[in-house]
Amino acid sequence: MKQSLGVRLWRWTIISFVALYLLVPLYAMFDFSTKPFGFADKGRTFRAWTMIPSQPDLLAAISRSLITAAIVMALILFMIVPTAIWVHLKLPGLRRPFELLCLLPLAIPAIVIVVGIAPLYRWISINISESPITLAGVYSMLILPYTYRSLSAALDAVDIHTLAEAATTLGASISRVIFGIIMPTIKTGIVNGSFIAIALVLGEYTISNILNFKTFQVVIAQIGRQNGNVAVAVSLASLLLVIFLLLIIPTKKRQGAVLDVDIA
């Protein structure tokens, strides 16, 4: 159906308005990060960009955040996914309570979780470790709703009971059934969950800032208090990196990850 002139006019008005809203601040970041600062006063400079690698704490914070993301992913793979499969297979009566538990973080904002969990992290800092990597524990709970949604959709799509019975009849152990048989069939759901894990860990600020952990975002804020140009350059660089990662991950897998914020 050919679009009428009115429709087309409306459409382009909306598109240009929203595009301006979203893109002007991004361009402004580029503009700001190439502005001269310090003793220089004219023209364009990439000095802020070249100063990124020499920022204290930054590289350490990035590598710690990546390690944290890896631990969160390991927790998903070796604890949350097997538990979800186990509940599906063996404890159908627990499915509803399990679902409610997984959706609980949606009702508890991060700022509220941090209030409740502060004593626990005080204890962990004193008795176990002061490293920000310990945040993996609370992060894996924060993404539980998203992990659960992508997992349960994947588990419902496959007849895992038949798979499990066939495998056990052929002599597979229960760990083989979970890790070798069922998990490969729900690979897409797991990939989606992991993608969200990385995004969450790299973007999290509320909990780490209040509990005084130097994660990626906290360090960016800290740089911003010393040198705005460098902080803007770092922000834009990491944003571009995320967009780049999104574009190289195959569309089909990605879209599921992104659109699966739906609950209930």
């Binding site: 459409r11 601040p25 927790l75 002599g171 209040i210 967009i243 999104l246």
Partner: protein, 305 residues
């Protein structure tokens, strides 16, 4: 050999027999997860809920809860939070909904579609520190738009950045991540609108506005309202953006909670933080329940098709 092992372990019967699948020992399988979530999820939740009705010495008392409820500062912060969330949810839902419509009416699977969806998924998560920097670089002192405004429009509000550090500025920043989130939530519903319905309406002599009034809007409303509720919770719970943009510790409830928890001058007051949190949780639970009800309606309709 294999057979021998098989017999040796003696578990062949146990594993395949239906009794094993339902036996009590199966509950042991959920124990690691239960312990873990008990520590990192149930304990903090319980800590807040029970702590809201205790004083700082652990005695049962509703004094703090009442104090917070009657405190003019807490009420103002709560009102600001509600106002900000409602404003940005409505504006974000409208702009995001319209933008989603613009995406859906374009060529499906085209470049514009792909870029818009990918960009939306990034920018919906783009809150906090980096968003603040983006807007400081745009409207802040020496920013892109403000320095242009100083040159060309010196008497408008754009030339003076102070508006950025208050309700107006926060609303504009929050709307920035609300629009893409609405696109992600609403686009699937729009794509489920069948072109045949429009054709049927046209064939029966319906005008464009009649189609939207009688068919389009009634079908889209539950999903649209659901999206707006999700946006409401999204900005109601947000802390990072406000924390990095403004330095007013009592302006929004999340900021007030953080201050009560970490304050270095007045000493921390966990009981106050927990009471404030309790009121936040009540609002979020109400809104999310409404959202769940609406989603149920939407998915029912989607199954019927």
């Amino acid at each position: 050999m294999t057979q021998l092992q098989y017999k040796g372990t003696g578990s062949a019967n146990g594993r395949t027999g239906s009794r094993y699948w339902r036996s009590k020992s199966a509950y042991l399988g959920v124990m690691p997860f239960l312990l873990f979530s008990g520590l990192f999820l149930l304990y903090p939740t319980w800590n807040v809920v029970s702590g809201a009705v205790q004083d700082n010495n652990g005695q049962f008392s509703t004094t703090v809860l009442k104090e917070v409820f009657n405190s003019p500062i807490a009420r103002q912060a709560f009102a600001n939070s509600l106002e900000l969330s409602a404003k940005t949810a409505i504006v974000g839902a409208l702009l995001g909904g319209l933008f989603a419509w613009a995406i859906a009416t374009g060529k499906p699977g085209g470049v514009f579609y792909k870029v818009s969806v990918a960009l939306s998924s990034v920018l919906a998560q783009f809150g906090g520190v980096m968003l603040t920097f983006a807007f400081l670089a745009t409207f802040g002192f020496n920013g892109l738009v403000s320095s242009l405004a100083v040159k060309f429009l010196p008497n408008t509000f754009l030339a003076d950045s102070t508006w950025l550090y208050g309700m107006t500025g926060l609303s504009i920043l929050y709307t920035f991540f609300q629009i893409p989130l609405m696109v992600l939530v609403f686009l699937p519903t729009l794509e489920n609108l069948k072109p045949q319905w429009r054709e049927a309406s046209d064939a029966l002599g319906g005008k464009a506005y009649e189609y939207w009034l009688r068919v389009g809007i009634p079908i889209l409303t539950p999903s649209f309202v659901g999206g707006a509720l999700l946006l409401f919770v999204n900005s109601f719970s947000a802390y990072a953006t406000a924390n990095t943009l403004i330095n007013l510790s009592d302006f929004l409830t999340p900021l007030e909670i953080a201050t009560a928890l970490t304050s270095e001058t007045g000493g921390s007051n966990p009981a106050e933080a927990k009471s404030l949190s309790m009121f936040m949780v009540i609002v979020v639970v109400i809104v999310m329940s409404l959202y769940a009800l609406l989603r149920r309606k939407v998915s029912k309709w989607e199954q019927k098709r």
